[in-house]
Structures are given as structure tokens and as C-alpha cells.
């Protein structure tokens, strides 16, 4: 089974039924899996803060949400994470491609990569980093943790995890 299918299996097993995405090359396989699953409503967003707003509404409608996005967009989500997700105490798993790490071919991606963990730490967002494929074994536990504590939780997935570019 592909790593993308395993990840989406864990989303379904945790009753995640509303997923919004802004694409990344590395996340293409996961987004295809999300689109293919009848248990999940997939709503592509034009920007990540919009996606987090959609997730907040879905949560209040009784659905467990998830956002799939790139770390390069973390900056545009800061206000939304703080004044909506955290202020109203909402759970939100954030499956994030960690661009700008080892194997990255585009220098500009590194510029956000070096701020990614610092920003998440500053925002007090629990953060997990998938580097080896077996790190995904914890994804199910991370999802349970997220909905237990009602916080945004970041899962950074780097190029080594995805097997390069």
C-alpha cells in the first residue's frame, strides 16, 4: 500500500470527513487519495487561510476537518490560526509538505523552511516531523491526540519521507 493511501486510511479511521487542500507536488498522491474516498468531502481552497476558515465551519457543522498545505504558506495562516482556530479552541490536523529541506532543488523554498519550526513553536502548535516512512506509523496517534486536545497540530513531511522529488 502506498504511503499516501496509508495516510488517508488513518484520516478515514479517525472520522475525518472534510479535507481542504492547497496543492504541493509532494502532496499530489495524498490529494488524489482524498479525492477518491467517498467518506471524505474534498474542498480545494484558493489560499490556506481560506481553507482554515472552511475547516472551522465544517467543525462546527459536526465534521472532523483537516487541511493539507505547504509550509511556505504558514505565514499567511498565522492570524487565522491564532484568532480563529486557537482562540475558539478548535482541533485542526495540518498535514504540511516541508519544502526546503534536504533534497530540495529550489533555493527559495529554503527561505521559509528555516522559519517553519520556529513559527510553529512561537504559535505553540504541537509539531511532528516525518522524515522516514516509518514515522507515518504515528499518524493515527497524532490524529487522536489532535481531536483529544482541540488544538491545531502540524505534521511536517519532508522530501526524504516522500522519496525525493
Amino acid at each position: 500500500m502506498s504511503i499516501s493511501a496509508r495516510i488517508v486510511d488513518d484520516l478515514v479511521a479517525n472520522d475525518v470527513s472534510f479535507v481542504t487542500t492547497v496543492p504541493c507536488k509532494q502532496l499530489g498522491g495524498v490529494i488524489e487519495e482524498v479525492e477518491a474516498r467517498p467518506q471524505i468531502r474534498h474542498v480545494p481552497a484558493n489560499k490556506e487561510d481560506e481553507g482554515i476558515g472552511l475547516c472551522a465551519g465544517a467543525l462546527m457543522g459536526g465534521a472532523r476537518p483537516c487541511i493539507i498545505m505547504q509550509n511556505t504558506a504558514l505565514g499567511v495562516t498565522v492570524n487565522t490560526l491564532v484568532t480563529l482556530t486557537q482562540f475558539y479552541r478548535m482541533p485542526l490536523p495540518m498535514l504540511i509538505s516541508f519544502r526546503g529541506e534536504l533534497l530540495e532543488p529550489i533555493a527559495c523554498q529554503v527561505e521559509m523552511a528555516i522559519h517553519t519550526k520556529a513559527l510553529l513553536a512561537q504559535l505553540h502548535i504541537p509539531t511532528y516531523h516525518f522524515h522516514r516512512q516509518q514515522d507515518a506509523d504515528e499518524f493515527d496517534a497524532i490524529l487522536r491526540y489532535t481531536f483529544m486536545c482541540s488544538k491545531p497540530v502540524a505534521i511536517l513531511t519532508d522530501a526524504t519521507f516522500w522519496g525525493g522529488y
Binding site: S17, D49, E50, G53, L54, G57, A58, T83, F87
Partner: protein
């Protein structure tokens, strides 16, 4: 007719409905005119009223009315294509278009100059877009709810504000009572 007069006029239609209220004065005015557990007050996060409303409408069957503003929609213009392409027939987006950023001192928006939000909504693919003067908004809202089809209403009103206190209710309390009203 200014926004607070418009909200007072449509309040009977909003009673017991799920209402997502935009940041700042719109929320404060709704709180003063018709506070109810089924109102979700945005205390921050400019621009996302329509996104919260759409996510809510897509996730449960009750009618959702998002009361947004022209300045806020301009902040998050990508919302209109998302709404158009993810049709929720239990969703009405009411854009109170007073051509100004009311909560920050009535600075003009581009919607009050050359830009038409109704035209942008139509070009985005929204099938049912109604532009009306503030005085006709109540009838337009009632018709949109009765139609059972997702509708975007652009209500053209005058700029102007009334002085109101900020909402001091805890955000978690706002969310909790709102979610209970959704599930009720």
C-alpha cells in the same frame, strides 16, 4: 439605510437561523439586535465569514446565512470561486455592501468605486446572484431561503455606524453554544 438599520429589518428572518456574523461592528450590531445561540460571532479573522459559512453549510443540512461585508469579501476574493464550485443549497451569503471599511472608520473600499462584487460573484460561477438596495434585502433574503438554492445577495446600503460595546463573551462559549444550536 445603514447596516444596523438593515440588520434590524432582517432580524425577524434571522431568528432561529444559523447566522455567521462578520468581524467587528456587524457582530456587535447583531449581538445588540438579536443575540441568539445560533449566531456565531467572529471576534477576529477578517475575511473568513463566507468561508466559515460555506464549511458549515457543506457539513450539515440546516440553512446557513453568512452576513459578510464588502471589505471582508475583497480581503478573501478567492472565496467566491470556492463557493461557486462547491454548491451548498442551504447557504446564503449576504454581502452588506456599504462601500466602506465600517469598523475601522469608514475608509472607502473599491466596491464603493468601480468594482462590482455581484459581477465578480457571477464571473466566479455563482449561479444565483442578487444585487438589491438595502430596503429590498429582507424580501431578497426570504426569497433566497424559500428557493432552496445557494444564493449570493449583494445589498447596497449607506455607510455609517452606531456606537456599540465590544462583545465580551468568551470565544469558546460562543462556539459551544453555537455548536449546540447546530446539533439541536
Amino acid at each position: 439605510m445603514i447596516r444596523s438599520e438593515l440588520l434590524r429589518d432582517i432580524a425577524p428572518v434571522l431568528r432561529d437561523r444559523l447566522v455567521v456574523c462578520n468581524i467587528g461592528l456587524p457582530s456587535q450590531e447583531m449581538h445588540a439586535i438579536l443575540d441568539q445561540p445560533s449566531n456565531f460571532y467572529m471576534l477576529g479573522t477578517m475575511g473568513l465569514c463566507s468561508s466559515i459559512g460555506l464549511g458549515l453549510a457543506l457539513s450539515q443540512p440546516k440553512m446557513v446565512i453568512a452576513i459578510d461585508g464588502d471589505g471582508s469579501v475583497l480581503t478573501n476574493l478567492g472565496t467566491l470561486p470556492t463557493i461557486a464550485n462547491n454548491v451548498a443549497d442551504n447557504f446564503v451569503l449576504l454581502i452588506v455592501d456599504n462601500g466602506s471599511y465600517g469598523s475601522t472608520g469608514d475608509q472607502p473600499t473599491y466596491a464603493g468605486r468601480k468594482t462590482s462584487l455581484a459581477a465578480i460573484a457571477r464571473a466566479s460561477g455563482c449561479d444565483n446572484v442578487v444585487e438589491c438596495p438595502a430596503e429590498e434585502t429582507r424580501a431578497a433574503l426570504e426569497a433566497a431561503i424559500a428557493s432552496g438554492r445557494m444564493t449570493v445577495i449583494v445589498s447596497k446600503c449607506q455607510s455609517g455606524n452606531v456606537k456599540l460595546p465590544v462583545i465580551t463573551m468568551d470565544p469558546v462559549v460562543i462556539r459551544d453554544r453555537f455548536m449546540k444550536a447546530v446539533a439541536d
